[in-house]
Symmetry: C2
Subunit: 144 residues, 2 copies
DNA sequence: ATACGTGCAAACGTTTTGCATATCG
DNA sequence: CGATATGCAAAACGTTTGCACGTAT
């Protein structure tokens, strides 16, 4: 984890993928921006910048990056995939406000260790995990 | 949490929902079967039993049960909602085999407590959470 | 009787795909 | 030049909805 942009380019080259205009534009937007985004939001960003990239290329490129482990997907809401660049970032989990949708990232070593222990107990070789805590954030919780 | 079938029926009655044939058939299949299922699988089960229930009714009934807290949804795979009856069952999380799809349920008090602590640190009032551990199960892990 | 539920088929939003064209190496 | 990527539009997928008809209360 915690790659650099060079890692991405090297990975793509090694896999025999070509460096095309569309691909470079998309990579730039994803790894320059940061944060969570949907495919459609990414497409809007690209179009706003005057780049002319098709929806298909956005989805295809996102797929490659997910396969390479440079982007992760999350399903915060049903029916829409959220993507997040993991470039240069360490693993983290999410707290999601069920009222305003705010997303806070956190890391907790102790939880990670317990997860490993649970997996081991059940004979699993852990590959990755997803932990999401849903609740009301400090602001939205006041009214309850 | 941990309701009985009577709780479900009482809830539905109190909400003013009617007891119809389709509804009874669906409830029976969901709470009689147990386990994880998709809307389509549930529909197949119902049809296999000769019941004639429409896809629309399946989705509408599932929605009511989710609202009532008797069924929970999970997104194990992208683009498809998995449902699970929580009737008579305590909270638990999941280990998912990325090769064969096997799902193992587990409970871990220590992890739960740490989650509460994390939420508190960030000023969140926790409502629910989702923890999924992905990896290779004991059987599928041997070949690696 | 009348409000609520049903089934059907059409609509929806997201994602994937087939194919002809353009581009990279 | 040959292989791969692109853009488009159509298809696919799971899910939701409008509506005329049925049924529980």
């Amino acid at each position: 984890m915690a790659h650099t942009l060079d890692d991405v380019n090297r990975y793509l080259r090694e896999k025999g993928f070509r460096s095309t205009g569309a691909r470079r534009t998309i990579l730039e937007a994803i790894f320059g921006g940061g944060g969570h985004f949907t495919a459609e939001e990414l497409l809007d960003t690209l179009r706003g910048r005057g780049g002319k990239v098709s929806r298909a290329s956005v989805y295809r490129t996102l797929g490659m990056l997910v396969d390479g482990g440079f982007v992760e997907t999350r399903e915060f809401r049903r029916g829409q995939t959220m993507y997040e660049a993991v470039l240069g970032r360490e693993h983290h989990d999410h707290l999601i406000c069920t009222v305003c949708g705010k997303i806070i990232e956190f890391e907790n070593e102790a939880i990670e260790r317990l997860q490993d222990a649970v997996a081991r107990e059940h004979g699993f070789t852990l590959e990755h995990h997803s932990l999401r805590l849903y609740g009301r954030c400090d602001v939205c919780g006041r009214g309850s």
